[in-house]
């Protein structure tokens, strides 16, 4: 795919999303769109650690819940304004990643997935059992009922998250370094990469936007409790969206988020009595994508972008170029 064409398509979609509320006034539609956009953000943030770095974090929902609770507590108990509380929600998620990352990022594969899942369960139990979270009764936030405000806030926040992640992961060296860790941690060390440092950076980079989105969610929905924000569903859905859409890319998880969220919305609108069936379909979808489209939908649809080979001869001044002047005979097979 040509970058310019991709950018044009993206610009059209963004413009359409920006003017959409001027045309569509239905609050239900607006609400569904706001949540859909949120899921795009959650999926791409999850993919930083899971897809780029290769560490499947089954506790991603904990960052979301901690962001939500931080905003809730700071607004309702410390009486901080939303705009002050919101960045602190991101910071709280970052601190959680730092503390949780030290023991868990040493683990590999399924062990990391199990450890992060267990940690997120522990955090949920904590929220259920301490006083200042409201325990199982949850917490009600001061209501600010302005669907348009939340639609634009979510859209702009996810847009900014997308641009920052796109720059760091696709343009800057950071993304390739993370992929090196994913492909071979030991081999990466010999090339000057410090895996411990890179994994921690990637975990924190995944946590911050997730915490911020949790904060916006709390203020928007005005009610949070341990099962809605700290439960399994956030992590589970993020996993399905990213695996189905295509790991280690940004467009894949975004596409996966749109499709899975649309499916979920339609399913719950018409078949709300069969929530268990929804979970079964979610599980089956993971299995089917892993087996039949290991690169996900996006990875299957779009080929790897090729970097052009430089036309002119390399500068003779620099060191290895001196050799390239001498022809190396072609290899056998």
């Amino acid at each position: 795919m040509k970058t310019s064409r991709g950018a044009a398509i993206l610009a059209i979609i963004t413009a359409a999303l920006l003017i959409l509320p001027l045309v569509v006034h239905d609050t239900f539609v607006l609400r569904v769109l706001t949540e859909g956009i949120m899921w795009i953000g959650l999926a791409i943030a999850f993919d930083v650690i899971a897809g780029y770095t290769g560490y499947l974090n089954f506790g991603h929902g904990a960052f979301f819940g901690i962001g939500a609770y931080t905003i809730g507590i700071l607004m309702m108990q410390a009486h901080l304004p939303f705009w002050v509380a919101l960045p602190l929600g991101g910071l709280a998620a970052a601190l959680t990643a730092l503390i949780a990352g030290i023991p868990t990022l040493r683990l590999k594969g399924a062990y990391f997935a199990i450890a992060t899942w267990a940690l997120s369960r522990a955090i949920q139990q904590l929220a259920l059992n301490v006083e200042f979270t409201g325990g199982p009764d949850g917490m009600r936030l001061e209501a600010f009922l302005n669907p348009l405000f939340f639609y634009y806030l979510m859209l702009i926040t996810v847009g900014v998250i997308f641009l920052i992640l796109w720059y760091l992961l696709e343009r800057a060296p950071f993304g390739l370094k993370l992929k090196a860790i994913r492909e071979d941690e030991e081999g990466a060390k010999a090339l000057g990469l410090n895996p411990t440092m890179l994994k921690m950076q990637s975990f924190i980079l995944s946590a911050i936007p997730t915490g911020i989105l949790g904060g916006i969610y709390a203020y928007w929905i005005t009610f949070i409790d341990p099962s809605s924000t700290l439960g399994d569903l956030v992590s589970d859905q993020a996993v399905v969206m990213v695996v189905f859409g295509g790991m280690g890319t940004l467009f894949g998880p975004a596409l996966g988020a749109i499709l899975i969220f649309a499916f979920k919305t339609i399913f719950w609108a018409y078949l709300s009595d069969f929530q268990l069936l929804y979970l079964i379909i979610l599980g089956a979808l993971i299995a089917i994508s892993v087996i039949f489209i290991p690169n996900g939908l996006w990875g299957t649809l779009v080929k790897r972008k090729a970097v052009a080979r430089p036309q002119q001869k390399p500068e003779p001044a620099s060191e290895p170029a001196a050799l390239s002047a001498v022809a190396v005979p072609e290899e056998g097979n």
Binding site: R171, A172, P173, L176, K177, K179, A180, R182, E183, D184, E186, G187, A188, K189, A190, L191, G192, L193, N194, G248, R304, A306, V307, R309, P310, P314, S318, E319, P320, A321, A322, L323, S324, V326, V328, P329, E330, E331, G332, N333
Partner: protein
């Protein structure tokens, strides 16, 4: 005489009860190719892992350019100029050949465009440029060994550790790699190389260090070493038999 670039001082490396490297000392002068030989299991790869920071020595020390580097992590040593290849190759299989080498180029070229340009130069040198966009997983064994060298070279190292980069290649491929190694030497790189193929190691090495059961049993020019009775018995004897 100048200070040697690398000094291995009485290095011992044990794995539990097994002494894989046993009190080995030698040094490498700047610009030399030193061959490290010995039968399978002699401790050559283990010694490479100690020098490149993958293992801390149980006893002894490694001094590189006057600094004690024992126990320093590999990513630090890459930064001070030590490049290495792996006997069991470690390509980033899901990435392209170019991306593999670009990652190594980041060490000296922090900007992505510069690193990519540098990676192309390295691939021209090592003869992989026409396979730059292939997935590293799609390379032949010869290609993967060449990719190992490319990644190590992309670090712009002053000292190169090559672990069996010729073994397993057909004679044409082997000749190309030998030619490449000689060019690197001509550029001023210092090289410590492990190789089983006698024809190769005898030809390219200025000096040889011979290990057997973790111990150094001989050191000297290829001519000296091949007439050393210990070596003939421990090593060449095995082949003659």
């Amino acid at each position: 005489m100048t200070e040697p670039i690398l000094k291995v001082n009485s290095v011992t490396k044990c794995f539990g009860g097994l002494t894989a490297v046993d009190d080995v000392s030698f040094s490498v002068e700047k610009g030399e190719i030193v061959g490290l030989i010995g039968p399978n299991g002699a401790g050559k790869t283990t010694l490479f892992n100690v020098i490149s920071g993958y293992y801390a020595p149980t006893k002894g020390s490694v001094v590189f350019q006057g600094n004690d580097i024992s126990g320093k992590p590999p990513y630090h040593l890459a930064g001070v100029g030590i490049g290495r290849t792996f006997q069991v190759v470690k390509p980033f299989a899901g990435l392209s050949v170019l991306e593999n080498v670009t990652i190594a180029s980041f060490l000296k070229h922090p900007k992505k465009a510069d690193a990519e340009r540098h990676a192309w130069q390295v691939l021209e040198t090592t003869g992989l440029a026409d396979r730059a966009h292939l997935s590293a997983a799609g390379l032949t064994l010869a290609g993967r060994k060449r990719l190992e060298i490319s990644k190590a070279l992309a670090l712009d190292p002053s000292f190169l550790l090559l672990d069996e980069v010729v073994a397993g290649l057909n004679p044409t491929e082997a000749d190309r790699t030998v030619e490449l190694i000689m060019k690197l030497k001509a550029q001023g790189l210092t090289i410590l190389i492990v190789e089983h193929i006698m024809r190769v190691i005898m030809n390219i090495s200025d000096r040889l260090v011979v290990l057997n059961f973790g111990k150094k049993i001989a050191e000297g020019t290829p001519a000296e070493v091949s007439s050393d009775p210990h070596v003939v018995q421990a090593y060449f004897g095995e082949e003659a038999a």
